[in-house]
Symmetry: C2
Subunit: 146 residues, 2 copies
């Protein structure tokens, strides 16, 4: 981390508490050797695992299943220049256990677009890092945008 | 892209227009062979280049200078389940031309945390892609979070 960019490191529990407050995060993966990102809604398990729900035929599943990915969520207030960013890095695996799949189907709210081929992907919380920016400073100490 | 996840592809000009509306984006890069992400304020040049300002000694500069990176910005409304995400992918280069550096120092608002070693990084808009989600559907058709 940059020692001089105005951020404070967050502990694991702080990270998980903050991430649980937002409905949308971003899954980072590699596609054709290029960095790729996809915003997704998500669930956060008690152990910090990130749970995604998508179609078994989706590009996302084929791109991340079995790969080490990063899942990021953040919130920033442009007015106060305050905010936080949390990243959970770990291996993404398709949930194949029927009992767990059924439990996830039950415990998650109903899908808005039910699909017969819905699957769950779990990102293991192998690395949980986060940073908080206090108000009054901008990211990397700069505000290039008006 | 997933054909069935409720997103609409955006054109290049739509992408740049939307990205110009938000103050903070996310730079995606690789660190120790792992996907990494860092929220940053940014500027958008007329040609779609993304301009970042940071310290020449920052981890970010050493991680992305000369590398192909992705820069993402998005905005989602959890209430209406509508939003957009834009990604600019290209090579990140340190601005070394003194005249351009001076121009960027002048045209950007003053830094909140002036540093003697500020540098600008430009991400070339080699690939500009974006997707819009109409209201009434959730990302990948699901809302796992309450």
């Amino acid at each position: 981390m940059d020692p001089n960019d105005g951020f404070r490191e967050l502990g694991r529990q702080e990270c998980l508490r903050l991430m649980a407050q937002v409905p949308v995060g971003r899954i980072l993966f590699t596609r054709r050797a290029l960095p790729a990102v996809r915003p997704v809604t998500f669930g956060l398990a008690a152990d910090g695992s990130v749970l995604l729900r998508t179609s078994v035929t989706s590009e996302l599943v084929s791109a991340i299943a079995g790969a080490v990915v990063a899942f990021e969520a953040d919130a920033f207030d442009a007015r106060t220049r305050a905010g936080w960013s949390v990243v959970i890095t770990g291996t993404a695996t398709l949930v194949t256990d029927p009992a767990e799949h059924t439990r996830l189907l039950r415990e998650g709210p109903p899908s808005w677009v039910p699909a017969p081929d819905e699957v769950f992907v779990r990102v293991a919380p192998e690395l949980v890092t986060g940073r908080e920016l206090a108000g009054g400073r901008t990211l990397h100490g700069v505000e290039l945008t008006s």
